[in-house]
C-alpha cells in the first residue's frame, strides 16, 4: 500500500505569503500588492478589487479580508502557492524534486529520495 496523508495549509509565515503574492503578480493573477511597514498587513489589488492579508499577533495565521468572492479566490490561490513555496524550501536534504506539473488547478510535485 502506498502512503496517504492530507495536510491543511495555514498561512503562518510571512516570507511564503510574499513569495506566493510575487508569483501571482508574475503570472498576472493580481495587479499589485503592497506590504505595510508599520502593521503586519499586506494589501492586494486585483483589477481594482482590494483584499487584505493580515494578522493581529505574530503567533496567529494570516487571514484574508475584503469582499467575499475575491477574498476567497485570492486566499485559495495564496494558500496553494504558499504550500508550493514552503514544500520547496523545506525539503529534507535527501530529497530532490524530479518532476513538477500544474494541471486542472492542481500542482503535482514528484520527489526522489
Amino acid at each position: 500500500m502506498s502512503f496517504y496523508c492530507v495536510i491543511k495549509t495555514e498561512l503562518s509565515r510571512k516570507k511564503y505569503v510574499i513569495a506566493a503574492l510575487a508569483e501571482m503578480q508574475r503570472k498576472g493573477e493580481i495587479t499589485n500588492y503592497s506590504v505595510s511597514q508599520t502593521k503586519d498587513k499586506i494589501e492586494v489589488d486585483r483589477d481594482g478589487e482590494v483584499v487584505t492579508v493580515s494578522r493581529t499577533k505574530e503567533a496567529a495565521n494570516y487571514e484574508i479580508g475584503g469582499i467575499s468572492r475575491p477574498a476567497r479566490e485570492i486566499s485559495d490561490r495564496i494558500k496553494q502557492l504558499y504550500a508550493y513555496e514552503s514544500i520547496k524550501d523545506n525539503l529534507p536534504l535527501d530529497f530532490e524534486i524530479s518532476k513538477e506539473t500544474e494541471e486542472a488547478g492542481e500542482i503535482h510535485i514528484t520527489l526522489k529520495g
Binding site: 500500500m1 502506498s2 502512503f3 485559495d76 496553494q80 514544500i87 492542481e106 510535485i109 514528484t110 520527489l111
Partner: protein
C-alpha cells in the same frame, strides 16, 4: 436478492502519478488486519465506518478525463471482496480503465479462493505481499518493500511500467490542501 454493495473507503485521490502506470485514480479501502510493522497507513486498519460509496457512484464522482487507470490500495481491499469486484468491473467496463490492486495477501492464497479468483479476472496487475520494513524498496519501483511481487495478470503492463518518476508525490489542491502519497514519506 439484488442489493447495492457499499464500499467503506478511507480516502480517494482522483489523479495520482505515482501509484502505478500513468495517471490513476487511487482508492484506499478502510480496514486491515494484517498488522505489518511499519505500515504506511495505520489509520486505515480499524474496521470502522468511514465513507461509504457504491462502486459506480465512487468512480462517477471522482473520474477525471485523461486518467488511464484505477489503483486500489488500503487498508486491505480483499476484506471487501464484493465491493472490490464491482469497483474493478465498473472501472474496466464502464470507463475503460486499467486496474492495479495492492494486497497484503499472497497471490497463491487468493488464487485458492473462488471469490478472490473472480476479482483477479478484472485485475491487470496484482501487487502482493505484506510490507516488510527491513526490506524497504530502494528503487523507484512502485512497491513498499522488495518482498512484494508484481503479478501481471493481463498483457497491459510490464515491470518497467511500475518504475515511477520518484518515491513521493505531493498534490497541492486549488485551496492549498496538500495530499502526500507514494512509497516513502517526508518526515
Amino acid at each position: 436478492m439484488n442489493y447495492e454493495v457499499i464500499i467503506n473507503v478511507h480516502s480517494i485521490i482522483p489523479v495520482s502519478c505515482i501509484n502505478g502506470p500513468g495517471k490513476r485514480m487511487v482508492v484506499f479501502f478502510q480496514g486491515c488486519n494484517n498488522k505489518c510493522p511499519g505500515c504506511f497507513n495505520p489509520d486505515t486498519h480499524a474496521f470502522v465506518k468511514k465513507t461509504g460509496y457504491s462502486p459506480k457512484s465512487l468512480i462517477g464522482k471522482y473520474f477525471r478525463a485523461g486518467i488511464e487507470g484505477l489503483t486500489v490500495s488500503g487498508g486491505e481491499p480483499f476484506y471487501q471482496r464484493r465491493g472490490l469486484l464491482q469497483l474493478l468491473i465498473s472501472a474496466r467496463e464502464d470507463y475503460g480503465l486499467s486496474t492495479v490492486v495492492y494486497t497484503g495477501f499472497s497471490y497463491e492464497r487468493l488464487s485458492a479462493s473462488p471469490p478472490a479468483r473472480a476479482i483477479l479476472k478484472y485485475t491487470d496487475v496484482l501487487v502482493d505481499g505484506r510490507f516488510e520494513i527491513a526490506g524497504k524498496e530502494p528503487t523507484m519501483l512502485a512497491r513498499g518493500s522488495t518482498n512484494q511481487r508484481f503479478h501481471f495478470l493481463s498483457d497491459k503492463y510490464t515491470e518497467a511500467d511500475f518504475v515511477m518518476d520518484g518515491k513521493i508525490e505531493m498534490i497541492i489542491a486549488p485551496d492549498g490542501t496538500i495530499t502526500q502519497t507514494g512509497f516513502s514519506k517526508v518526515a
